[in-house]
C-alpha cells in the first residue's frame, strides 16, 4: 500500500515543481517590467533582481502626466471600437443569410469567406497602403479599422453561422405568422438569442485590433494618430538608453489588455478555441 502510494506522491510533487517553474518563466518578465518602472536605469544595471530600493515613482508619474500615453490609449480605443462596430453588424447579417436562407451559390459564398482564413493581412499590406492612400484614408482610424474588419470577417462568420442555424424553425414560423419579416426576425429574435456568441465575436475583434501592429505601422505615420503598439515601439527606440522609462511605459500599456483579459477571459478563450477548431 505504502509502496504504491509513494511514487504517486512523488509524481505529484514533480508536477508542482514543473508547474511552478513554468509559472516563474511566464511571470518574471511581466514582474520585471512592472518593477523596473519603479527603478532608475542605474538601479536596473546595478541590480535588476529584487524589490526596487528605493522605489522611484518618477517614470510612471512623468508618463501618466504627459499627453502621449493618454492620446495613444485613446487612439487604440477608437480603432478597436470602429473595428468592432463594422465587423459585428456585417458579419452577423452575412452569417444569418448563410445560415437560414437557401439560395443558389450559398455554399460558394460561404467558401469565399472561409478562404479568407488563408489570406493573412500581411500579404495584402502593401497594396492596401496604396489603396488607402488613394482613398485618402492614411492617418485615419478608419484606414486601420476597415481592413481589419474585412480580414476579421471570415472568422466571425464561421463562429456565428452555426449559432444562427441552431435557432429552431418553429420560432421562425411563429414569427412569420405574426407577420414578422426576415429583417425583424433577425433583429428581434436571432440577435438577442445569439448574445453570447456576439460577445465572443466582439471580444475577438477588439483583442486583435488592440494588438495589431503591421497595418497601423503602415497606415498611421503621424505620431498623433499612433495606437499604443506603435507608441510603445517608438518610445522604446526614442529612450533606448533609459531602460527604466521604457519599462514603465510598456507596463502601463499592458494594463488595458490585462484588465480586459480578466473581464473577458471566458469569451477570449472560447472564441479562440471555437474559431480555431472550426477554421
Amino acid at each position: 500500500m505504502a509502496a504504491a502510494l509513494r511514487p504517486r506522491r512523488l509524481t505529484r510533487s514533480a508536477h508542482y515543481v514543473v508547474a511552478l517553474a513554468v509559472l516563474l518563466v511566464v511571470l518574471v518578465p511581466v514582474i520585471y517590467a512592472v518593477l523596473g518602472g519603479f527603478r532608475t536605469t542605474g538601479q536596473i544595471s546595478a541590480n535588476p533582481v529584487g524589490l526596487p530600493r528605493p522605489w522611484v515613482f518618477d517614470n510612471y508619474r512623468e508618463i501618466l502626466g504627459s499627453d502621449t500615453f493618454w492620446r495613444q490609449l485613446r487612439n487604440s480605443v477608437v480603432v478597436a471600437a470602429l473595428t468592432m462596430a463594422v465587423i459585428v453588424p456585417c458579419a452577423s447579417l452575412a452569417a444569418f443569410a448563410l445560415a437560414r436562407f437557401e439560395f443558389a451559390g450559398r455554399e460558394a459564398v460561404y467558401a469565399l469567406f472561409t478562404i479568407g482564413l488563408l489570406f493573412p493581412l500581411t500579404v495584402a499590406v502593401l497594396p492596401l497602403f496604396i489603396s488607402l492612400r488613394t482613398a485618402d484614408l492614411l492617418n485615419n482610424p478608419l484606414g486601420v479599422a476597415l481592413p481589419q474588419a474585412a480580414f476579421g470577417l471570415p472568422t466571425s462568420i464561421i463562429v456565428l453561422r452555426p449559432f444562427f442555424r441552431a435557432i429552431p424553425a418553429e420560432l421562425e414560423e411563429a414569427a412569420a405568422l405574426d407577420g414578422c419579416g426576415p429583417f425583424r426576425f433577425f433583429y428581434k429574435v436571432a440577435l438577442p438569442l445569439s448574445r453570447p456568441v456576439l460577445a465572443t465575436v466582439s471580444v475577438l475583434a477588439i483583442v486583435s485590433s488592440w494588438n495589431a501592429f503591421l497595418l497601423p505601422l503602415v497606415v498611421l505615420s503621424q505620431p498623433d494618430q499612433w495606437t499604443l503598439p506603435l507608441g510603445v515601439t517608438n518610445f522604446s527606440t526614442q529612450y533606448s538608453s533609459d531602460t527604466a522609462r521604457v519599462l514603465a511605459f510598456t507596463s502601463l500599456s499592458m494594463i488595458p489588455a490585462l484588465v480586459f483579459y480578466v473581464i473577458a477571459e471566458r469569451q477570449i478563450v472560447r472564441g479562440l478555441a471555437s474559431g480555431a477548431l472550426k477554421g
Binding site: A33, A169, Y261
Partner: protein, 332 residues
C-alpha cells in the same frame, strides 16, 4: 426556409425553389414578385460583408499580384513592366532565401519542442491538482499581451548585462552568457524561445479543451485492463486527441509563416539579416525602400507557400476532422 432544419422541425420542406426562399414567407407562393423580394432580402443581408471583404481583402491580394510584375516605387505611374524579374531577383537573393530558411527553422522547432511542451502542460493541468485554474489563467497570459510588448520586454531582459545575463552570473554560469540578440548564430533560437513564451499557452488551452472532451471512463477502463499510465496515454488519450493536435500543428505552421511583429520589434530582422522572416524582409525591402513591385512579389511568394501548404494539409490531414474551409464545404 431554414438552411438546416433541426430534428424537431415539423414544417414540410417546400418544393425546391432555385430563386431562394426567405425564412418568413409562407411556403407555396411562387409568384415572380415574391421571388424578387426574397432575392432582394438575401442581397441586402450579404452586401455589407461582401463589399467590405471583396474591396479590402480580395482585391488587394489580386492587386499585389499585379504590382509584382512592375518595377515601381509606389508613386510614379505603373509603367515599368518587368515580367517575372522581381520573382527572379527574390529567389536569387541570399537574404530572402535565408529568411525562408529561418521561417522553416522556427516552424520545425515549434512542432518539435513547443507543441509537445504545451501538450505536457495540458496533461498536467488536466490532472486534479490544487491551483490549476490559477495556473491556467497565468499560462495563457502571455498570449494576451501584444507581440510588441512581449518583444520590448524580452529585448530589455536579453540585452547585454540584462536580467538573463545577471541571473546566469549570479548562478555562477557566466560561461553561458551570450549576445542573445546580436550573435547571428544564436538570435534565431532566441526568437524561437520568445515566440514559444508567448504562444505555448494558446496551444495548451486548445489541447486542454481537447483533453476535457475525452470521456474519463475510457482512460479508467484502460487502467482496469492493466494498462500503465504511459500506455493509456499513448494508446487511448493521444489518438483521441488527434483532431486537436492536428489543428494545433496547422495553426502553428500558419503562425510561423506569418511571423512579423515580434521579430520586427525585437531584432528588426538583424543582426545582418540573421533573424529575417519572409514578412520582415517584405516590409524592409518593399515598404521602407519603396520598392512596391518587389515587395509585392515577395508577398505573393509568401502567400503561395502558405496557401499551398494550407490546402495540402487540409486535404491530407484535416479532412476527416472538421468541416474544413475548402475541401469539406457543404458536407455539414
Amino acid at each position: 426556409m431554414t438552411a438546416e432544419r433541426p430534428p424537431g422541425g415539423t414544417r414540410p420542406l417546400p418544393t425546391a425553389d432555385p430563386g431562394g426562399v426567405s425564412p418568413a414567407s409562407g411556403a407555396g407562393s411562387g409568384r415572380a414578385g415574391a421571388r424578387w423580394s426574397r432575392r432582394a432580402t438575401i442581397i441586402a443581408f450579404l452586401t455589407p460583408a461582401l463589399v467590405l471583404y471583396v474591396l479590402l481583402a480580395l482585391v488587394p491580394i489580386l492587386q499585389g499580384a499585379f504590382y509584382s510584375g512592375f518595377d515601381w516605387n509606389g508613386l510614379e505611374p505603373l509603367e515599368q513592366f518587368v515580367g517575372l524579374q522581381n520573382y527572379r531577383e527574390a529567389l536569387a537573393d541570399p537574404v530572402f532565401l535565408a529568411a525562408l530558411r529561418h521561417v522553416g527553422v522556427i516552424l520545425v522547432l515549434s512542432l518539435v519542442l513547443q507543441l509537445p511542451f504545451a501538450l505536457g502542460l495540458a496533461v498536467l493541468l488536466n490532472e486534479r491538482m490544487r491551483g490549476r485554474a490559477v495556473l491556467r489563467l497565468f499560462f495563457f497570459l502571455p498570449f494576451v499581451l501584444s507581440d510588441v510588448i512581449t518583444a520590448i520586454v524580452w529585448r530589455l531582459i536579453l540585452q547585454p548585462a540584462g536580467l538573463v545575463d545577471h541571473t546566469l552570473g549570479a548562478a555562477g554560469l557566466d560561461g553561458f552568457v551570450r549576445l542573445w540578440l546580436a550573435d547571428p548564430g544564436i538570435v534565431l533560437y532566441t526568437v524561437f524561445f520568445v515566440v514559444s513564451w508567448k504562444y505555448f499557452g494558446f496551444h495548451m488551452i486548445l489541447l486542454l479543451a481537447g483533453l476535457q472532451g475525452i470521456p474519463f471512463e475510457l482512460e479508467e477502463a484502460a487502467a482496469l485492463d492493466g494498462a500503465s499510465r504511459v500506455q493509456t496515454f499513448r494508446y487511448v488519450t493521444l489518438p483521441l486527441l488527434g483532431p486537436t493536435i492536428r489543428i494545433c500543428v496547422f495553426l502553428s505552421i500558419i503562425g510561423s509563416l506569418q511571423l512579423f511583429d515580434l521579430v520586427w520589434v525585437m531584432t528588426g530582422g538583424g543582426p545582418v539579416g540573421a533573424s529575417h522572416t519572409t514578412v520582415t524582409y517584405m516590409l524592409e525591402r518593399g515598404f521602407e525602400r519603396s520598392r512596391f513591385g518587389y515587395g509585392s512579389a515577395v508577398a505573393v511568394i509568401a502567400f503561395l507557400i502558405s496557401f499551398a501548404f494550407a490546402l495540402t494539409y487540409q486535404r491530407l490531414v484535416l479532412r476527416r476532422d472538421v468541416a474544413g474551409a475548402l475541401t469539406a464545404m457543404g458536407e455539414r
